[in-house]
Symmetry: C2
Subunit: 183 residues, 2 copies
């Protein structure tokens, strides 16, 4: 039952604190935020559309062309992203054109920035051709960006100093004895 000896294993993974160490009790679906995130942006097409929105695309045809996705997929994805509060539609009109919608990231959508940076950063490591490709940089000093993991107290936290635990252990332990699983 007790996995305490696991604490001594190589620090290549997250240390497990408290009741989380009995990991098999917490299989319940919605509890890891990762799954929730993946439900909204877990598909390739969703990420590509979001990428183009970050890169400044706003119009339907721009997004379709630049992602390389079919129009039907882009339309469906934009609909879903709108429903999920990640993009907003904003009607506008160019001279001599009918009114149409442009798409912009909401606050929630802009919150995806660290994910974008982390994906770019990791993809860079896989690379073969380091000459091609795009690069995210600081506008002022033009130095490339990377995602740093820090704690709320401002410490830089490498993987071997990170840990995982249940947020509200008492609440969760209480549920565990109950027959019902909410959600």
């Amino acid at each position: 039952m007790n996995h305490d000896e696991g604490q001594a294993e190589s620090a290549d993974v997250l240390e497990r604190l408290g009741a989380f160490s009995e990991r098999d009790e917490w299989t319940a679906k919605g509890w890891c935020r990762i799954e929730r995130s993946l439900d909204l942006i877990g598909t390739r097409s969703a990420m590509l559309v979001v990428r183009e929105l970050f890169y400044g695309g706003t119009k339907f045809d721009e997004l379709a062309r630049r992602t390389g996705l079919s129009e039907a997929v882009v339309a469906g994805r934009l609909k879903q992203l709108y429903a999920d509060g990640i993009v907003d539609r904003r009607p506008y009109q160019e001279a001599g054109k009918r009114t149409r919608d442009e798409y912009v990231l909401t606050e929630r959508g802009r919150g995806l920035f660290p994910i974008i940076v982390a994906l770019v950063q990791w993809g860079e490591l896989l690379g073969d051709d380091h000459r091609t490709g795009v690069e995210l940089v600081h506008r002022d000093c033009e130095a490339p960006l990377s995602a740093h993991i820090m704690c709320a107290n401002g410490h830089e936290v490498p993987l071997d100093q990170a840990a995982v635990r249940l947020k509200d252990e008492a609440y969760v332990t209480a549920m565990r004895t109950r027959p019902h699983g909410s959600r």
Copy 2:
């Protein structure tokens, strides 16, 4: 054609530097590292398996049970993650058991840590129930983790100070004039 006036638009997206501002020229597939990353870990099941590896799961049945995925999917995913150099297999034997493989993250796999943190962080914002769920913290001070975007010179970079550009503009511009040209 020229999108220079886009520079003055609200800084809710990445500023586009240099030739990248002519975005439609750079539709070419493999250039954004995001797509490369998504090719390897772009599926829900891959991310869930990686999550459990970070959470300390190593054995096949642990990974299957804790991700909630079917055994067939976990087996397939582990095979793919192994082929892609994200996990390593390491034979071992418990007393009274046959030899089997355990799965551990490689260096490349551990490089996914920022992505994991960013996904958890973003999923947290979507939340309704802030009492349940897991939390990543600094082992020493127990403060929660978040991904901070910084440039190589150590500046913290919010979205409105970030920019995107082509890595090697001369190289890329040369390719553009070649017959290989698309669209």
